[in-house]
Symmetry: C2
DNA sequence: CCGAAGTTCGACCTGAGAGTCAAGACTTGT
DNA sequence: ACAAGTCTTGACTCTCAGGTCGAACTTCGG
């Protein structure tokens, strides 16, 4: 029975992964369960054995992708724990953008749910994002406290970083593999300036 | 007969404006012509008198909103022509974000079309965006040439600015009017650092 | 005031896709 | 091997929204 449970979990995981992919490519409305089923080599009917309906599947996709990504980011921050301050942020940004581009290219469209969606889901997404941003927020506030960074507004800085990173896959998708890596480096370097000390303008 | 033409143009303009609004709120797929018609106080049928179908209406909405916005931006750049260099970019960014937030809150969703859309439309959108970005590109390259700015990569800088500005309405929509204005100022100040001279990191 | 052109209406058709379900196929423990 | 539980299927219904169309209504030039 544990064996059974395992298999079921595995199955659910696969379904959710594929669903996240399709929802991200097509958007919620344009995604048909038929297509999700097709990519899984099953029929639409059996999806209903695991999920009550389209909404629940989409919710699960958002939830899973959101927490997985955040956990990876937190692990990454731990890995980079002993890199010195100015480089640390840069490395964190770079790796994060790379992950976004290579592994979660569908995230932007998946999380950009219409205003008409249930409030509960929208709140959940905001919560996921807050936790996600926390890694960078900590990094910046610590840097500011130590005098290594200087920002006009932590929130606005975070917002700019987040917006840029979430749109990176869109920008990079048309580039060849090499150019893509350079673009990722460039973006990280550029975003790093957001935290750096300002010089010149007001 | 000119009178007739005028009236027709006016009508088309209204339809497109409302359509852009709805498409931006709901996304392409979730938008029903019924709803567009309802907001215009007409019935679905009469929309077909002006547009061949949903696609054509969406295309017109994208086209109109894209060119209108770009023209406003270009006019704005002309207005700010004699502001000195470091402030000029900042003012341009600020005004542009303000316009985005207050007048084109639907732009992000409207322009973020799925991969499955016709290539012609996707190409057109990319072209609109290029022209749109040109204002900022000129500003930055001129500043770099004059030694006022220093950037790692013009493209990446532009991308970061564009991404942040296009997501600004989403971020600001939950804020009260005053907080919104402050957020816009903060974002402009933050983005301005992207062009400024770097200090410290590699 | 009339006829023609321009415009709107609303009933209708159609296809796509969400969701249901009874029957059968496969797995697993004994 | 067999029975109980687990999963998959494919045919079915139903709703919703895109699109069509002829009739009716409005506007305009003469």
């Amino acid at each position: 029975m544990n064996r059974v449970q395992r298999k079921r979990d595995e199955r659910v995981r696969r379904i959710v992964a594929v669903a996240a992919e399709v929802f991200g490519e097509r958007g919620y409305e344009a995604t048909s369960l038929e297509e999700v089923a097709e990519r899984l080599d099953v029929t639409k009917g059996s999806l209903y054995y695991y999920f009550a309906g389209k909404d629940e599947l989409a919710t699960a996709a958002i939830e899973t992708l959101g927490t997985d990504w955040t956990e990876r980011l937190e692990a990454l921050a731990r890995t980079l724990a002993d890199v010195p301050r100015p480089e640390r942020l840069r490395a964190l940004l770079r790796e994060h953008i790379a992950i976004a581009v290579h592994e979660y290219p569908a995230a932007l469209r998946l999380f950009l749910v219409p205003d008409s969606w249930p409030t509960a889901l929208r709140d959940r997404i905001r919560e996921l994002r807050r936790r996600h941003d926390l890694v960078f927020r900590r990094e910046i506030t610590a840097g500011v406290a130590a005098g290594d960074f200087a920002v006009v507004s932590v929130d606005a800085t975070l917002q700019a970083m987040h917006a840029t990173m979430s749109q990176a896959p869109l920008w990079c998708s048309h580039l060849a593999a090499e150019a893509q890596e350079r673009a990722i480096d460039d973006l990280a370097a550029v975003l790093c300036k957001l935290a750096g000390e300002q010089k010149g303008s007001l």
